[in-house]
């Protein structure tokens, strides 16, 4: 029963061909997405294979500095991706995203590897990189969503904020509803995905493990662990980022500066 079926090159090409059908649908409906779909397909193909070769090499030559370097690259790349989606270009903001993502990821990852899975050695790349990837990617999405929402709401509600400030509200008080709304919007996707787990979908990690022949009950444990830790990482990194982002919005005299 626990058989593992490999995908041959022909099988992979058939999957890639499905993306050409997606491009065709986009083109027939004049969606102007064909270029993005083509680039996305190409990028994902080469990026994943590149990652696959790197991982294959590092699995065979496991050293702590390979794991560490890959982790750093992952966090830097995710930071850049989150920063790219924000309208305001400010180096301080980039630093805040980097800090929030680093702390927000490293704490849950430390819990996973020291207390939950208890892997040895700590730099066991077979576990660290896939799990870290999921944590970092989900946090990146939440940060991007939450921060974009936060800055847009500040811009839209500038007069309301100034009215509150002009009556003696602190900067923190003047943006409290915006802060809460942005935080809510940022973490909602991860909470919503908990609701449909096992009903609307069989999640990726569990699917991958089952396909590889792991017992379903064991894969459930892994999946639950990763989902809860993703929520933890999202909640933590978003809180850190939104708190830091107030420094982009207000100066020391509690005046709006964006």
């Amino acid at each position: 029963m626990n058989e593992y079926f490999k995908i041959d090159n022909m099988g992979l090409m058939i999957s890639v061909f499905a993306m050409f059908i997606v491009m065709l649908i986009s083109s027939l409906n004049h969606l102007k997405l064909s270029k993005e779909i083509f680039i996305g397909t190409l990028r994902s193909f080469f990026q994943l294979f590149l990652m696959g070769f790197v991982l294959k090499y590092t699995f065979q030559h496991s050293h702590w500095y390979y794991t560490f370097s890959l982790l750093i690259m992952m966090i830097l790349f995710a930071t850049y991706e989150a920063y790219k989606r924000i309208k305001i270009k400010n180096y301080q903001l980039f630093q805040y995203i980097l800090f929030a993502l680093t702390i927000g990821s490293l704490i849950p990852l430390s819990v996973i590897f020291y207390l939950v899975i208890k892997i040895k050695p700590w730099y066991n790349i077979q576990f660290i990189i896939p799990i870290s990837g999921m944590i970092v990617a989900n946090s990146m999405t939440a940060l991007s969503l939450g921060l974009r929402n936060f800055l847009q709401e500040i811009e839209t509600n500038r007069l309301l904020i100034e009215t509150k400030l002009s009556l003696g509200a602190t900067s923190k008080n003047s943006i409290k509803p915006i802060f809460q709304k942005s935080y809510y919007n940022g973490i909602l996707p991860s909470i919503n995905s908990l609701m449909v787990l096992g009903i609307a979908k069989l999640p990726g990690m569990m699917t991958g493990q089952i396909l590889a022949g792991v017992s379903p009950l064991e894969s459930v444990k892994y999946q639950l662990m990763i989902m809860y830790m993703i929520s933890f990482s999202t909640a933590l990194s978003l809180l850190i980022l939104l708190e830091l982002s107030k420094k982009i919005v207000f100066n020391q005299r509690e005046q709006i500066i964006i």
Binding site: L160, L165, S166, G168, A169, N173
Partner: protein
Amino acid sequence: MIKLENVKYQHQEKTILKNVNLTIEKGKKYLLLGPSGSGKTSLLKIMNNLISVSAGEIFLDGKSYNQIKPSLLRKQISLIMQDSILFGKEVKDNFEYLNSLNNNELSEEMFLELLDKVKLNKDFFHKNINKLSGGEKQRIAIIRTIMNSPQFILADEPFSALDKYRIQILAKILVDLVDSENIGLVVVSHYFDEIIHLFDKVIFIFKGEILFLGTPDEFLENKDNHVTNFLEGNNE
């Protein structure tokens, strides 16, 4: 007392205010006049510390603004902005917000009394803010500011939504309210003909500089070209 010394304000390389030396005394009422773009709103925002000066200093009762926590400063020198927004869904939400800024020590009774003083029925307390007229909204904004117990109220075009008749009524209400609480008042108003004598002093600002500070009668008799041009333009 608010004291501005050699204040200069620049924004995006443009000088908005320069060489501003001004003293605003508690309990006195000032009418701030000047052509559009002369720096009136910027001056009020600087006094409320919503923006900072580029040069010079401002003091409240002898203490530099930079030594006073911004939220405390703005509570003492509150600003009614030109397009002041009311909070929440109902008028009472504005009371509740003010109350939260004042450690929940404010009295709903006082708010209702102020409603009465501004000639609004007590039922307005539960009224939907989207159903208020421009003048009613401005009256609520005034009450909201007075509830803060500031030493000074700065008002940027508080009568802009009103006709001449209602401007006179609301101006009188505002002046009576600040007189009863010994609050210093600075009002910017595009329309001032019938209300100028409600004020103790007139400040005239032109291209960022204060050209006149004196009584209403002295202002109306002033021979400075900029003042006379302004008065003539206002009479057209």
